[in-house]
Symmetry: C2
Subunit: 330 residues, 2 copies
C-alpha cells in the first residue's frame, strides 16, 4: 500500500503525522512518500502544487492532506492547493460524514454522510468582469459530472444500507443547473433501484433542517458550494471542525483531508486536535482501500479514547494526548 | 398611509388578515388595497404578478405579501411571484431579523439582523445550456447594487447602534464576484465611519458559527443566495420558520413577507402561525414607515402573548388564538 503525505501549511504538520502513525499501525507494510503543497510551498517554489506532488499522488493512488493557508487577497499566479488537487486529479466526490461522538457532540443519534460534488458548480474558476463594475461567475453543472457523482451516491448508499438519500438543490430558482443535477441524480439512483428512497430539499430548507432535525438525514448529496456550506454547518453535530474528516474521492485516486484549516494562531502550541486527520485516514481505509474492518477499528479507537478521556483538560498537550490515546488503542 | 395586501397562495390567506388587523389597530387611518399574485393567480390569469398588482404596490409604496406555492417543475411562462416582485420593484435589500423569543426559542440572548442582497447574485435569471448536457448559471455581482445594499447596511447599523457588521462571502474561491461585494461594502461602510466595526467570514464558516455561537452576530450582510441559506438556518434560533419575518426593502417601496411558504398541507386546519406575518408588519413599521415606537409595541405584544400563552396547546385554533392574543395587547 502506498500513501502520499502532504502536510501542507500550519497545523497540517502537527496532525498529519498522527494520522500516518495510526495508518502504519493498521497497515504494517504501508509505504509513505512525502510531498509538498500549499501557500508556504508557493512562496518557496512559485507553485502551490508542484508537478512532483501530482506525480507522487498519481503513483501512490492515495494521499493524506493536511491544510493550507490562503493569502487574504488575490496573488498573481496563486491558486488554492486543495482546489488544484481536486481538479487536476479528478477527485469529483467529497465525502463528509457527520456523526455523534461521545463526550464531544452536542447530541447523540446523528449519523449522516454528506456527499459534495467536488469538481464543478461555482468552483470551475470561470469568473470575469463583464464591464467595469460588473463581475460574473459561472456556475457549471454537467450531466457527465452528475452521473459520476450519482454513481458514488449509489455506492455509499449501498454500503450503508441507507434508508434515505436526500438531494439538496435550489431548482426553484436555478431551473437549468439545479434541475440538471437533480434529474440526473434521480435517474442514476432509479436505475440502481434506489428510486423509492430518494427525496429532495431546497438548500435553504435543508440548512434549517440540519439544525432542527439532523437525525432525519442519512445520505445527503448536493452540489459543490452548497456542500461546502451544508457540511460545515452540519459538523457542529460531530463537535465542530476539529472532528470533521473528509475524503476527496476520484476514480483511482483518493485524498483524505481534515476539513479544518491551517490554524496559524495555534501552530506550535501543541493544541491542534488530530482527530479530524485520524478520521480522514479512516475514510481512506473504508472507501478507497476497502478495508471496512480497519476503518471501524480506527473509528472505535477514537470513540474509546473520547469515552475514557471524558472531562480531561487537553490544553497544551492536546495533540500528543489524543495521538497516544487513540494509537495505543489500535 | 397606504398598504397593498397580497395574500398570495395557501396559508397566506390565513395569516395576512391577522397582520392587517394589527396594522389597522396601530394605524387607524390605514387604507388597504387588495392585490393578486402567485401560482393560483397564474393559473387563473396567466400571470403570477399581474400589472395591476405592480401598479397598486407602486401607488401604495408599501405591501404585505403572504406566500406563494411553486410548481414542482418548470412551467412555460411562469416565474416565481416573489422573485418577480423583488426585481420589478427594485427591492434590493432583504431584512431578516433573528432573535430569541420567550418560550419558543431554543436559547435566549440572540439578536441579529441578517441583510440579504435581494436583486442579483444567482437570482438574475441568466441560465443557459452551453452545450448538450452542460448547464450554466451566471452569478452577477455589480458595484452599483453592492453600493445601494451597503447604504442599507449603514442605515440599519446606525439605527441599531450595531457593535459589529459581519460580511459573509466566499472570496477565497470567487475572487472577482465575492471580492467586489466585499470590497464595495467595506468602502461604503468605511466612508460612513463604520470601518472599525466591520469583519468578515467565509460563508461556510459563517454557517457553522450561526449554529455554534449565534450570539456573536449582530448585523450579518451577504449576497442573495448565501443570505437565503444563512437566514433560513439562523431562524432556528427564533423558533423556526413560523417565527421568521422579512422585509423586501427598496428605495421607495417596501414589501413585508413572512419567510415561510404557502404550507398547502395545513391550509384550512386553523393551525397556521400568524406570528411571522405579524413580525413582518412590524418591520414595515420600523424600517419603511419609520415608526419605531409602533413597531416596538407590536413586537412587545407578540412577546407578551408568548409569555402568557406559555404551555398552551394551540392545535387547531392556533391562528385565531394567536391573533386574538396579540391584537388584544396592542
Ligand atoms: C479552502 C476552501 C477553498 C475549501 C472549499 O471551499 O472547498 C474549504 O472550505 C473546504 O471545504 O474544503
Ligand atoms: C421562494 C424562493 C424563490 C425564495 C428565495 O429563494 O428567495 C424563498 O426561499 C425566500 O427565502 O424568500
Amino acid at each position: 500500500m502506498q500513501l502520499c503525505v502532504i502536510p501542507g501549511d500550519g497545523i497540517g504538520h502537527e496532525v498529519i503525522p498522527v494520522a500516518v502513525s495510526a495508518l502504519r499501525r493498521l497497515l504494517p507494510g504501508l509505504q509513505t512518500h512525502a510531498a509538498d503543497a500549499g501557500w508556504e510551498c508557493f512562496q518557496r517554489s512559485g507553485s502551490s502544487v508542484p508537478e512532483a506532488t501530482l506525480e507522487s499522488l498519481r503513483a501512490s493512488g492515495a494521499g493524506l492532506f493536511g491544510a493550507v493557508s490562503s493569502p487574504a487577497r488575490k496573488v498573481a499566479g496563486y491558486r488554492s492547493a486543495i482546489l488544484t488537487l481536486r481538479q487536476q486529479l479528478g477527485l469529483n466526490c467529497n465525502l463528509r460524514p457527520v456523526r455523534s461522538w461521545p463526550v464531544i457532540s452536542p447530541r447523540s443519534g446523528i449519523d449522516m454522510l454528506i456527499l459534495r460534488e467536488n469538481s464543478e458548480g461555482l468552483y470551475v474558476g470561470r469568473e470575469h468582469m463583464e464591464s467595469e463594475g460588473i463581475a460574473i461567475a459561472e456556475r457549471q453543472i454537467s450531466r457527465v459530472a452528475c452521473e459520476q457523482f450519482a454513481a458514488r451516491i449509489v455506492e455509499v448508499a449501498e454500503q450503508r444500507s441507507a434508508h434515505r438519500v436526500t438531494l439538496a438543490h435550489k431548482a426553484n430558482v436555478l431551473l437549468l443547473t439545479c434541475g440538471l443535477f437533480r434529474d440526473t441524480c434521480r435517474q442514476v439512483l432509479a436505475a440502481h433501484g434506489w428510486e423509492a428512497q430518494v427525496d429532495e430539499r431546497l438548500v435553504d430548507v435543508a440548512a434549517l433542517q440540519l439544525v432542527e432535525s439532523p437525525e432525519s438525514f442519512d445520505v445527503l448529496a448536493t452540489t459543490n458550494l452548497f456542500g461546502d456550506i451544508l457540511s460545515d454547518l452540519a459538523c457542529y453535530w460531530s463537535g465542530g471542525l476539529g472532528m470533521a474528516p473528509s475524503l476527496n474521492w476520484g476514480q483511482s485516486i483518493a485524498l483524505a483531508e481534515p476539513v479544518h484549516g491551517s490554524a496559524p494562531d495555534i501552530v506550535g502550541t501543541g493544541r491542534a486536535n488530530p482527530i479530524a486527520a485520524l478520521l480522514s485516514a479512516a475514510l481512506l481505509l473504508r472507501y478507497h482501500w476497502q478495508q471496512p474492518e480497519l476503518a471501524a477499528r480506527l473509528d472505535a479507537a477514537v470513540e474509546g479514547f473520547l469515552v475514557e478521556a471524558g472531562a480531561v483538560d487537553f490544553a497544551d498537550r492536546t495533540t500528543e494526548i489524543i495521538a497516544d490515546g487513540v494509537i495505543s488503542r489500535l
